[in-house]
């Protein structure tokens, strides 16, 4: 496969002018941003700002009305379904758990690579991710018996087995307790760094975003309000986006948002 090596000039992912509407209701209006390899980008905004729609438009689960996405120099929308799945993986907000084992659920990430049957490398790659994420002990358990945190890790593992360049996460912490929220986000942060994956993650908790993300895409009414590093997340921005007065305070060298 010929693809440009992502650099500052050639970002890993380049989103240009994504617009989408449900019927007459315009949900996204010309959203554009770039992200580099290894960066974690938080997508922030209030309910209905278009966060989930944006990431499902980026990976073409939904076809946007207009716009384009370039991944590692290639037009993402022009790729075949399989090619797209090899470049970008996705963990939905709510995962449907059913009667299959953790191993088989993770193995599903090899789906874009499986022609007729499994190869030994598919099993090997699954085992590598399972070991890396410390899931060995329950890999033969049924996923419908897992706790929310465990299930979320399994879904992340499946997304990683897909060997993506870009990983999309839709509110990965929404059903988790505080300990698991931090465990999942910290893992996502590390994996982006160590394996040069760009992560786009929809988050509700701005303090979490500030702690684990590098860039911050703030959406307001389907438009980009601001996009930049932590300095772009200001008390004014939080007020404009969420409509709440807050203070951004420094605790042990970390920025934390406190709602007034």
């Amino acid at each position: 496969m010929s693809c440009l090596k992502p650099t500052a000039e050639n970002p890993m992912i380049s989103v240009r002018g994504i617009s989408h509407a449900y019927g007459d209701k315009q949900v996204l209006r010309g959203v554009s941003f770039d992200a580099q390899a290894g960066e974690v980008v938080a997508i922030l905004g209030n309910n209905g700002a278009g966060k989930s729609t944006l990431i499902t438009c980026i990976n073409k689960i939904r076809s946007p009305k207009s716009g384009s996405v370039v991944v590692a120099g290639q037009d993402f929308y022009e790729m075949s379904r399989i090619e797209r799945a090899r470049h970008m993986s996705y963990v939905a907000q709510k995962s449907e758990a059913h009667q299959i084992t953790v191993f088989d659920a993770i193995l599903l990430g090899r789906k874009p690579y499986i022609k007729w049957g499994l190869g030994p490398e598919d099993i090997d790659k699954c085992n590598a991710v399972i070991e890396h994420m410390g899931l060995e002990d329950f890999k033969l358990r049924m996923i419908d018996e897992l706790s929310g945190g465990e299930l979320q890790k399994v879904m992340l593992a499946r997304a990683l087995v897909q060997e993506p360049q870009v990983l999309l996460l839709d509110e990965p912490t929404s059903n988790l307790d505080p300990k698991n929220q931090h465990a999942v986000l910290s893992f996502v942060h590390d994996i982006a760094r160590s394996h040069n994956i760009t992560v786009l993650v929809v988050l509700h908790d701005v303090s979490h975003a500030l702690r684990y993300c590098d860039k911050f895409l703030m959406l307001q009414g389907g438009q980009v309000y601001s996009y930049g590093d932590a300095s772009s997340v200001t008390e004014q921005a939080i007020f404009d986006i969420y409509g709440v007065e807050s203070s951004i305070v420094d605790i042990h060298g970390r920025k934390v948002v406190v709602v007034n």
Partner: protein, 381 residues
């Protein structure tokens, strides 16, 4: 590709962390675990196959002519007395082959419909597809002279004179229902749960239409339809059996080819799409193929309900929801259930034959209710 480095890097790290040998054996163990787990599923398939073989032998030896199991076994391999061989090969073997073919068709169709419609209650009979197919076949019999009743007193002399016409009409009746179901779920956005309610309405519509046809048909044809709607494994000849098996074979290859897609779809539509699955075509083709094999089976044996519901659910209890195994295991289980029902239909009120369709409904209806209760509880949770 940049991301391909993930596993190489990881392998490298785990090597340096654990030492090469240790990590190697560790990984080997993982392999073993999973292999053993998969081996258990294969064992289940072979157990089902053995069960089917046993049921075949029992089925071949149950009947009014009083041939012993041993004699049946001899006749099956071409030995024994001439009369035994004639009875076994001309009467019982075709009936068993019909049962197997129909069981496979209905069970595979049920397993796939439950997946693509995202509803565990889906099957040809619960969606009204079976009733639509029955109606289509009735139209062929009454208006296009596709079937005649050779002697109203005898149960086995009903003949379909134009099997192809009956199949085509049964398929048209079934696919009309499928089209409505798909329009409701895909275009009108009806929830998977409500689809079963739509199935109830469609079943009632087609059952009423079949009754209406009977009202206008002559006596001979009424007898023909009434007998036909009971469902019986004894009316299909070798041509019909071959037709059902041929369609089953094509469907089996198609379903097996898509087994990973069905597994992906179990994780939800969005996840399946993100894994590169063409969800729309998977649903559409899956429903059309399922309808086709159900309709072909129903066209030749009449209405036999609930096989598509019972078989996949029993199998899921043992091997989970993995379509790599669920499709062949459901097929085998469907064949086993229908043969068991057939044995029961020939022995419970012997020498009278009970309609097999009634017996499968007696098995299926309680399971259907149980599944509704379970689904309701999950909905509340």
């Amino acid at each position: 590709m940049a991301s391909n480095s993930y596993h190489k890097e990881h392998d490298h790290r785990s090597d340096s962390r654990h030492g090469l040998d240790h990590s190697h054996t560790h990984e080997h163990d993982h392999y073993g675990d999973y292999r053993r787990y998969i081996a258990r599923k294969w064992v289940f398939l072979f157990v089902l196959l053995a069960l089917l073989a046993a049921v075949i032998v029992v089925s071949a030896s149950v009947g009014s002519s009083g041939i012993s199991v041993l004699e049946v076994a001899r006749a099956l391999v071409g030995g024994g007395e001439e009369t035994s061989r004639t009875i076994v090969w001309n009467v019982r073997v075709p009936q068993i082959a019909t049962g197997i073919a129909v069981g496979i068709a209905l069970a595979m169709a049920g397993a796939v419909m439950q997946n693509v419609l995202r509803n565990p209650l889906a099957s040809a009979s619960t969606l009204g597809i079976a009733q639509g197919a029955s109606f289509g076949a009735a139209v062929a019999i009454v208006f296009f002279q596709a079937g005649v009743q050779l002697g109203a007193a005898s149960a086995v002399t009903h003949t379909i004179t134009s099997p192809y016409l009956v199949v085509i009409f049964a398929f048209l009746g079934g696919i009309a229902t499928t089209a409505i179901i798909l329009l409701l779920s895909r275009v009108a956005g009806v929830s998977p749960t409500s689809l079963i309610l739509a199935g109830v309405a469609l079943s009632a519509l087609f059952t009423a239409s079949t009754a209406l046809i009977q009202y206008f048909a002559d006596d001979v044809r009424i007898a023909s339809i009434v007998h036909w709607t009971f469902g019986s494994l004894s009316r299909a000849g070798w041509t019909e059996i071959a037709i059902i098996f041929a369609f089953n074979a094509i469907a089996f290859v198609y379903f097996t080819y898509n087994r990973w897609n069905y597994n992906a779809l179990e994780s939800g539509t969005a996840t399946a799409k993100s894994l590169g699955v063409n969800v729309d075509s998977l649903i559409l083709v899956g429903m059309v193929v399922s309808t086709l094999i159900s309709a072909v089976a129903i066209a030749f044996v009449g209405t036999i309900n609930f096989i598509g519901l019972i078989a996949p659910h029993i199998v899921r209890r043992f091997i989970g929801n993995d379509y790599r195994f669920l499709i062949p295991a459901s097929a085998l289980m469907g064949a086993v259930i229908i043969l068991v029902a057939d044995i029961a239909s020939r022995t419970i009120a012997s020498p009278a034959l009970l309609p097999i369709g009634a017996l499968t409904s007696f098995m299926g209806a309680p399971l259907f209710l149980y599944l509704i209760i379970r689904q309701g509880k999950q909905g509340q949770a």
